[in-house]
């Protein structure tokens, strides 16, 4: 079973992402939510996750800072980070990919895009 952390200050966005994950077939995934980057980071340090999905604009700690923390922490470095945000454009996407995000998607994300993006991860898990 996959454990996925969804960090977004909007409960509506978290619900929308969870629905998308369900539609793409991750019905048995355990989804843990956080409403800011700091809360997500605290949970990531305590428990093991297979995927982090994060927004960019969040109070307390934003998504870019969270991504930097994750990629700069040896125990979390390998955690795939998917950024789903409305504050993205090609310039920001390039920067986030350089920081270590494995993909950057714009809001609202569609199940088709979500599936296409997660396919390599799901295949990799299938191979393991």
């Amino acid at each position: 079973m996959m454990r996925i952390m969804v960090a977004d200050d909007s409960s509506c966005a978290r619900m929308f992402i969870s629905k998308c994950l369900e539609i793409v077939g991750l019905t048995d995934a355990e989804i843990i939510e956080a409403d800011n980057g700091k809360e997500a980071l605290d949970k990531l340090k305590e428990q093991a996750f297979d995927l982090l999905i994060t927004d960019l604009s969040m109070p307390v700690m934003d998504g870019e800072a969270l991504l930097k923390w994750v990629k700069g922490t040896p125990e979390l470095q390998k955690l795939p980070v998917l950024v789903i945000s409305s504050a993205g454009n090609p310039a920001r996407e390039k920067k986030l990919l350089e920081l270590g995000a494995f993909a950057v998607l714009g809001k609202p994300v569609s199940p088709v895009t979500m599936l296409k993006t997660l396919e390599p991860l799901l295949e990799q898990r299938g191979d393991d």
């Binding site: 409960s11 509506c12 619900m15 929308f16 109070p59 409305s86 504050a87 454009n89 310039a91 809001k107």
Partner: protein
């Protein structure tokens, strides 16, 4: 960038947001179209690389219809959920719009805030877009001199 291009980008941002999130069709309305009645509205600041403010307003009835489409008709939707939805709609629309007018420059948005009083008067020079969604009016206003300078009339 010309005002016509801003109009097209805003139309695409609103349509892309509501069609993808709520499966609802959006139509542009005339510039003198009526404002939403007793609107609920949110405000969002653009912080970088320019400064401006966007407001999204719609009737409570339209917000409830969107909420039913997003959360499901069989769900008891709380006030917190509808407030959160309005904020998420504004955030998504503005993000798509800013990515359209500044495709190669990173931008930073604030956190949406709920309008607590009646619909405030329009600032001089503000841009006002009107849309119709399921026969309800939806309005978006962009204001703030630094951001509006990016739009040539």
């Amino acid at each position: 960038m010309l005002k016509d291009q801003w109009d097209e980008i805003m139309q695409a941002a609103v349509a892309g947001c509501l069609e993808n999130m709520a499966f609802m069709e959006v139509f542009p309305a005339e510039p003198d179209a009526a404002e939403p009645e007793n609107p609920v509205w949110d405000s969002l600041l653009v912080l970088e690389p320019t400064q401006g403010e966007f407001r999204l307003a719609m009737s409570r009835a339209l917000l409830n219809e969107i909420a039913a489409n997003v959360y499901g008709f069989d769900t008891a939707i709380t006030e917190r959920q509808t407030a959160d939805l309005l904020a998420e709609l504004l955030n998504t629309i503005v993000g798509r719009f800013m990515a359209g007018i500044l495709p190669m420059e990173p931008f930073k948005l604030g956190i949406p805030e709920r309008g607590t009083s009646g619909w405030p008067p329009l600032e001089p020079g503000a841009i006002h877009w009107h849309f119709t969604v399921e026969e309800h009016a939806l309005s978006i206003i962009a204001s703030g001199a630094p951001m509006l300078k990016l739009c040539q009339s």
